[in-house]
């Protein structure tokens, strides 16, 4: 029986980075993260070697170094990942007690919450509602968000009037009380859920496959997983590579390629039903980066496009990146496969 065709999505609409990531907040978060990372992961025992977190290949080459942390490029799927990387225990400690983690939830997320609700979370809710309408298991109506940093997601999910109960799995320490105020269950793992989401979470994980396997266990048969993350396959990261100023440990341990994401889903028991890169900021991110760091060198075509063409050309190019899965903002919808063991 034919199921829905594999699809991908393009988003049209103006968005500026400053709307969801104000420069001053972003700069402070970055500075705190770099300082805390040096402190929390200075000891050799806090780091460990890793194979590719997407496809598990041990074949790799050095990619770049950021703030004293090395990144490797997987020779098989093209993913880029911090290696060595903080151990799971060191990361747990960091997110529980670092200044950067606290700043992220108490200032960065809180102060951008309304803009993110309008620009991002509302569309996430519509997205998963549409795919649930198409493919979801209607008997499984439980919903969980993994690693919640912005509880506004639950308000938007409630508007759909599709899901109950609502649950936050391992939310950020600073938002647990807010979740409970909203009547959201807080748990370490779910059970027989219809939908699990993980927005901008995969890139922080010590082991992304652990997150996906936990989601798989939490979902009912036919359950759906939705996540967003940054992909190294996107234009801005391919262009800036190790010079991307917004890449730092431990916020970005995993910059998985689209090929890597496919393999990760497969080995964790999911079938991809949508892989899209509906990002609207790649061009702007590169422009900001080269303005801030004149030493960054662009190739001829990219230099011509970015420095010598106007905003309209940039918008058209961004639309092209979306349509051909070449933006670094990745969103994935996947179905729990029945036969996975």
């Amino acid at each position: 029986m034919a199921r829905g065709a594999m699809k991908h999505v393009v988003v049209k609409g103006d968005l500026e980075e400053a709307t969801i990531r104000p420069a001053s907040l972003l700069s402070e978060l970055r500075q705190l993260s770099i300082e805390d990372a040096r402190r929390y992961f200075a000891d050799a025992s806090a780091l460990e070697e890793s194979d590719c977190p997407a496809c598990q290949s041990a074949s790799r080459t050095p990619a770049f170094e950021r703030d004293g942390f090395a990144f490797s490029a997987c020779a098989d799927c093209g993913s880029v990942y911090a290696n060595p990387r903080p151990t799971a225990a060191a990361l747990t400690d960091y997110y529980a007690s670092s200044r950067a983690a606290r700043f992220r939830t108490e200032r960065f997320v809180a102060e951008t919450a309304e803009a993110r609700r309008t620009e991002i979370i509302s569309s996430h809710a519509n997205w998963l509602g549409r795919i649930y309408d198409e493919t979801g298991n209607r008997l499984a109506t439980g919903y969980a968000d993994v690693g919640t940093t912005n509880p506004a997601v639950f308000d938007e999910i409630r508007r759909l009037d599709l899901f109950a109960p609502l649950c936050a799995i391992e939310p950020a320490a600073g938002v647990v009380a807010r979740c409970r105020d909203l009547g959201i269950d807080v748990a370490e793992e779910g059970e027989a859920l219809g939908v699990v989401t993980a927005f901008e979470t995969l890139e922080h994980q010590h082991a992304p496959d652990s997150l996906l396997r936990a989601a798989h266990r939490s979902l009912a048969p036919g359950g759906l997983l939705f996540f967003t993350t940054r992909t190294i396959s996107g234009f801005d990261l391919q262009t800036l590579w190790g010079s991307a100023p917004y890449i730092y440990v431990p916020e970005h341990l995993n910059l998985l390629s689209i090929d890597g994401i496919r393999r990760l889903l497969e080995r964790c028991g999911f079938e991809a039903i949508e892989i899209s890169t509906p990002g609207r900021l790649d061009v702007e991110l590169v422009l900001h980066a080269i303005e801030a760091d004149p030493s960054i060198r662009l190739t001829g075509f990219v230099d011509t496009l970015l420095r010598h063409r106007d905003h309209r050309a940039h918008q058209d190019f961004q639309a092209f990146l979306q349509k051909h899965r070449l933006s670094s903002h990745l969103r994935v919808a996947a179905l729990k496969k029945e036969s996975h063991s």
Partner: protein, 333 residues
Amino acid sequence: MATPLRVGIVGFGKMGRIRARELERHPGTELVVVAEPDGADAVPDGVDRVADLAGVLQREIDAVIVCTPNRFTADTIIAALDRGLHVFSEKPPGRSVDDVERIIDAERRAGDRKLMFGFNHRRHAGIQEAKRIVDSGRMGQILWLRGIYGKSGGDGYEKEWRSSREMCGGGILLDQGIHMLDLFRYFCGDFAEVKSMVGTSYWDADVEDNAFALLRDDAGRIAMLHSSSTQWKHRFNLDVYMSDGYVSVNGILSSTRSYGDESITVARRSFDPSFAAGKPREEVTYFDTDPSWELEIAEFVDAIRDGATIQHGTSEDALQAMKLVFAIYDGDA
């Protein structure tokens, strides 16, 4: 596993070959015989070729797929139903409303035999997505629809059987525009009022090459149609505007992709003063494959196997679509 349904195809042109491909892919069907008087198109290995319908009806088969020119459609369907066979037929369902009414009489005589028409556009991924969004009610109620379906014709187009009133009963509206009318009905149900203009502007043929129509239902919802064979760049576009947003299906996947990528644009109405008016955030979903042919055959086979009611492309759908076609013709008479 159950014995495969034995199937014959009458008419082995482009549509007959598409249906043969889908029968081959479906595990519950076996193509036994095809009837095709013209040409020397190869038939699949192991499939007999006969000259006409009579040759098909002599075989031990369970179902017939009718892919003939319109002139033969009704009589072929009726003969197959009267022979006790299940029937799947391409659209249009004949050359006139009278043809469909004769078919429905035969369907009644045939008792539990299944009859289904190939209004496959309903099963395209973009249309299915639009239907789910509309039915969810999350964008409010339908206000209006607008459908454009046009093709360019081509060298010798005016000499093809599709351009002959004697063979077809009508022109581009009956041949292609009927899909859009069926989609209007899929979203809104029946329409009570029709206003139209129909013309032959370019092709030297005795059928129309352009039809423009406005339809209104009892709830006051208006649907606007343009069906054309002088649309020099192939085009399919269906807009459904609702009280809180809209969906727009653009392109329809075909074997040559000449109607472009199939996509659906979805947006919510926004009167937020902080945004430019009339420029909402849109999401465009592109579909990589067309499941419509496979879904149609699956529905037909399931209905025969399980006795289930046909949901898409019933004889009532065919009748109402034909009534709209001829109301549009009559509206400009």
